[in-house]
Symmetry: C2
Subunit: 251 residues, 2 copies
DNA sequence: GCATCGGGTTGATTTAGGTCAAGGCTCGCG
DNA sequence: CGCGAGCCTTGACCTAAATCAACCCGATGC
């Protein structure tokens, strides 16, 4: 099962600044003049950990991408049950062209910097420059694959498998960015509270805590503090995750 | 929470044949010469109920859309646990441009006709005619929304709520196509076996059966045979589904 | 120094849904 | 006509995870 696109996009545009929307997220193959037009409507926004960026149903007149930090998309039922439906790491895109209200709560789970564009100009740009739309399609298809992997997790995995999967997912995303892996031994800092993990996994936070303890007791993971995890044998973790495929290299 | 795009696409192209990929799925706003080019690579395929169209990991050199019948996308774990991750009704698109192997099992759950295009020419067409790509982006975004609604269902809803939600989803898709609704009273034919429902909902088929019986006893639904359901009060069903939003008009 | 608070752990108990098992209904076929 | 296969239902029992509750630990504030 292949999760990544056949031909991975190369980010060769060298005049990029620090804004991922230019060099990673959207404008991977864009031309200089398009960059300039995009640039004109660009602005940055910072949020503190815990802050809600938009509430479900609110007007949302921008799109953007995460520069640093982590955000989540969450759905809430009337009685307060919550399910995370999106985990946004740096370079991930937020917002849907063609929709003017947010469909989910968007929350900063760590301190966060986003790079935003007003929606109108962005949509106009999309019409004028097909590359942007094509890149967005690729990203959306990747997200859809991730969502489907997530559905398997939610529908069929045990609590232990869910925890192992989540750690693996974060480790892989981390590793693919930072390459902190050395022959099977992997180190991760969980960027989520136990509660956020429980919302990701469709569990209670007590169960999350218990299963993390269980994995520690069984030597699958080692823990320092609350969040710092080292995985002595990554393949063993993957076994615990019960993944059929390569586990989805995309979150 | 808004599930449909702000400006719903209008299907005004009148020379359409019976192929949904032309008039509904992809070429909503296309020009005649594009249609012609697409037409050249088009072919139909029929499948019987229960037949597997592609296996996860198999080479898949076509994309297409469902004309009549129902297909599903399913993921399987090594030990046989299965989770449905896509339900494809007429006009839904199958396949991912840019990927040459299938990521999921695609199964015909009823007799099925698909309209297919060889992938290469389709991809070339996509590059040449932005409208096709844009339409595909819209469809993919809709699917992503549906997947996220589905995640809430899998992660947080009770068995009873899951069943009620599924019936509501099918009824709405049905109704939006066939308009067989009369003041709150709705009639649906479930196009899925109990087993398929259980794979959709992350339950066992026994639980599905029990909860359907429970909803019948409580007068939420009435059943004739195994599959024919009438919903005397649709709003009451929605209450049982525990939906926060409008419930996602998209499957 | 002490109180408080957010995040985390652990234990005791309950329960929703899974598992195992028996049987029913319908349809096609020898 | 009787038989078996699919599909579905129902019952008895079991277990994984939820619930309820106590408590730990480190940071922050007064």
């Amino acid at each position: 099962m292949q999760k990544t696109s056949a031909a991975p996009v190369k980010f060769t545009h060298v005049q990029c600044g620090d804004c991922p929307i230019r060099h990673r997220a959207v404008c991977a193959r864009c031309e200089t003049d398009e960059l300039v037009r995009l640039e004109e409507t660009k602005y940055y926004r910072s949020f503190e950990a815990g802050q809600t960026i938009v509430w479900s149903g609110d007007r949302m007149d921008f799109v953007g991408s995460v520069v640093t930090g982590i955000a989540t998309l969450t759905q809430t039922m009337e009685d307060g049950r919550r399910q995370m439906v999106g985990l946004l790491l740096p370079s991930d895109f937020v917002g849907r062209p063609g929709r003017e209200t947010a469909a989910y709560d968007v929350v900063a789970t760590t301190d966060l910097v986003m790079c935003c564009f007003r929606k109108k100009p962005f949509e106009e740009l999309m019409v004028q420059t097909p590359h942007v739309g094509q890149r967005l399609l690729e990203m959306t298809l990747d997200e859809l694959d991730a969502a489907r992997e997530w559905m398997l997790l939610l529908g069929r995995k045990t609590a232990r498998e869910k925890i192992a999967s989540l750690i693996a997912i974060i480790a892989r995303r981390d590793a693919s960015l930072k390459m902190q892996k050395s022959e099977g031994r992997v180190i991760v800092d969980l960027p989520l509270t136990r509660e956020a993990m429980s919302e990701y996994l469709g569990l209670t936070l007590e169960t999350v805590s218990r299963q993390i303890s269980a994995l520690r007791k069984d030597g699958i993971i080692e823990i320092e503090g609350k969040r710092h995890i080292t995985i002595p044998d990554f393949d063993r973790l993957i076994e615990e995750a019960g993944d059929d495929s390569d586990g989805g290299f995309l979150v």
